[in-house]
């Protein structure tokens, strides 16, 4: 579904990605693990067209997308939830959800979709009129995910959804991810919280310094004591 081929990208002068090749298969949850500065966020920005790549290519459903503008990439059905959620702080909860349905296809079904979202996240209905900036960290992250779902994307990309959240809220977050996965979405999840993330993963990549140092399914990570000790702190 989503293919990243031999991608090299720079963050300023610093080479953030070198020769990365990875794939997200339809209906699967793929995760990218790795410490801070491993190039995880740069990877996501490259996929969404927020950073231009130096070499290589990104394909979505066999269409090359690395030369496209971000809003065009969004139209194809790729939705990124940025790190920290990045809500529009001065818009209400309802308005944040509404802007999530900005794409032409999504506008027509706006009423239907928002009811679906409200049944998935009932608290957002209660808080509909509240200004997004005044919500707690966990609620914001939830709203950010809900906002992305409003466009009915084909693939949902999450950048560190657990960052800065309390442990109890993190559990909530991952149960949401599980829920979303069960409703059939393809997911690309970037996380530092390896243990939690591996539980929801169909396939995982481990990044370090802009390179993939290990990849495989849950069992492969489970079996590899060295990787577990050296990188995942398990």
């Amino acid at each position: 579904m989503l293919k990243v081929e031999n991608v090299t990208a720079f963050y300023g002068e610093f080479q953030a990605l070198s020769n990365i090749t990875l794939e997200v298969k339809a209906g699967q949850t793929t995760i990218v693990l790795g410490p801070n500065g491993a190039g995880k966020t740069t990877l996501l920005k490259s996929i969404c067209g927020l950073e231009k790549i130096r070499s290589g290519a990104v394909y979505f459903e066999n269409q090359r997308i690395d030369t496209m503008n971000t809003h065009k990439i969004a139209e194809l059905g790729i939705a990124l939830v940025p790190e920290g959620g990045r809500l529009f702080p001065n818009l209400s909860v309802y308005e944040n959800l509404k802007i999530g349905a900005y794409l032409h296809k999504a506008r027509k079904n706006f009423q239907e979709t928002i009811e679906e979202i409200y049944s998935l996240f009932p608290i957002l209905k209660e808080r509909a009129k509240q200004i997004a900036g005044s919500m707690s960290g966990g609620e914001r992250q939830m709203l950010a995910v809900a906002r992305s779902l409003m466009s009915k994307p084909k693939i949902l990309i999450l950048d560190e959804p657990s960052a800065g959240l309390a442990p109890k809220i993190i559990l909530h977050m991952f149960s949401f991810v599980e829920k979303i996965k069960k409703s059939g979405y393809s997911i690309l999840l970037v996380e530092q919280n390896a243990m939690k993330a591996l539980q929801v993963a169909d396939y995982a990549y481990l990044f370090e310094s802009g390179k993939i140092v290990f990849e495989g399914g849950q069992e492969d990570f489970d079996k590899n004591e060295y990787i577990k000790k050296a990188y995942l702190g398990l």
Partner: protein, 287 residues
């Protein structure tokens, strides 16, 4: 006492018109992060265009206004295309100088076409007398019209997808793009809205003023003061500060003279800036 009441009411009426004047400048700053230095000059140009169609060509005033508003919206788009778009990632000072050059271009263009004479469209607008209060109907008309237009703009920004996208781009352009918003399109819509508003403000000025090539400069400064006082890019702040400026100008003029009133306004402005440099409702962020 009666004089003060009169001044207060006229100040409120003035405030409504100033609120509309400052709105476009504020919206453009909030969304595109650019200061439209020639905003008042655009109002002047709009006035001339309405004058041209009405007084020179003899079209009815309503039609002249509609044509004027449309042409000014196109001028807004042209500004985006020819000046702002090429300079979006240029240093601030270059943007500022380029837009300041528009002041000279528009003023000289007006001087070239219409000369330095004062021009106006004579209109019979009576003075309304309620007890001891005297209200010029031209001011009342402008006030009601300005509030109606502001109301429409509020609805546009709050209930349409495009309006929401404009606010989203103002708050976080990168994330707006992720939602599928094309910021280039939003910039055009914003500049065209701002341009159309200069035409609308010009239309409300027609019964009140006569126009000349330097008519716009004081309104650019006035709009800028209102926007900064309210907090740059903050539309509600701009609305409130427009009424403060309107009332202070009007009341101070009655208590002293018009010249002193201008000084009073500027002193209040400077004092607020010293205490709250981010403006009344500003967030104190440099962007």
């Amino acid at each position: 006492m009666e004089q003060l009441l009169n001044a207060l009411i006229n100040g409120i009426l003035l405030g409504g018109v100033l609120a509309l004047l400052a709105f476009g400048l504020n919206l453009i700053f909030g969304v595109v992060k650019i200061i439209h230095m020639a905003y008042g000059q655009f109002v002047m140009l709009g006035f001339y265009i309405i004058y041209f169609f009405c007084a020179t060509l003899g079209l009815p005033i309503t039609m002249s206004v509609i044509i004027g508003v449309v042409i000014m919206a196109l001028f807004g788009a042209l500004t985006q295309l020819s000046l702002i778009k090429p300079l979006l990632s240029a240093p601030r000072v270059n943007q500022l100088l380029a837009l300041a050059s528009l002041i000279i271009i528009v003023e000289n263009l007006a001087m070239f076409i219409w000369g330095a004479d004062y021009r106006g469209i004579p209109m019979d607008m009576p003075i309304i007398e309620i007890g001891t209060v005297f209200i010029r109907s031209s001011y009342l008309f402008a006030f009601i019209g300005a509030l109606a237009v502001l109301g429409l703009l509020y609805l546009f920004l709050h209930s349409t997808f495009t309006g929401l996208a404009i606010r989203a781009v103002a708050q976080d352009m990168e994330v707006a793009k992720l939602m599928g918003v094309n910021p280039g399109l939003i910039y055009y819509i914003t500049l065209m809205t701002g341009g159309a508003l200069t035409g609308v403000v010009a239309a409300f000025f027609v019964p009140i003023y006569t126009v000349h090539p330097h008519f716009g400069s004081s309104f650019t400064i006035m709009a800028f003061i209102i926007v900064v006082l309210g907090g740059m890019g903050n539309l509600l702040g701009g609305f409130i500060s427009a009424f403060i400026i309107g009332i202070v100008t009007s009341v101070a003029a009655v208590l002293t003279t018009t010249e002193v009133a201008d000084i009073v306004v500027l002193v209040i402005f400077i004092m607020v800036m010293l205490v709250r440099p981010q403006g009344i409702l500003g967030k104190g962020v440099a962007t």
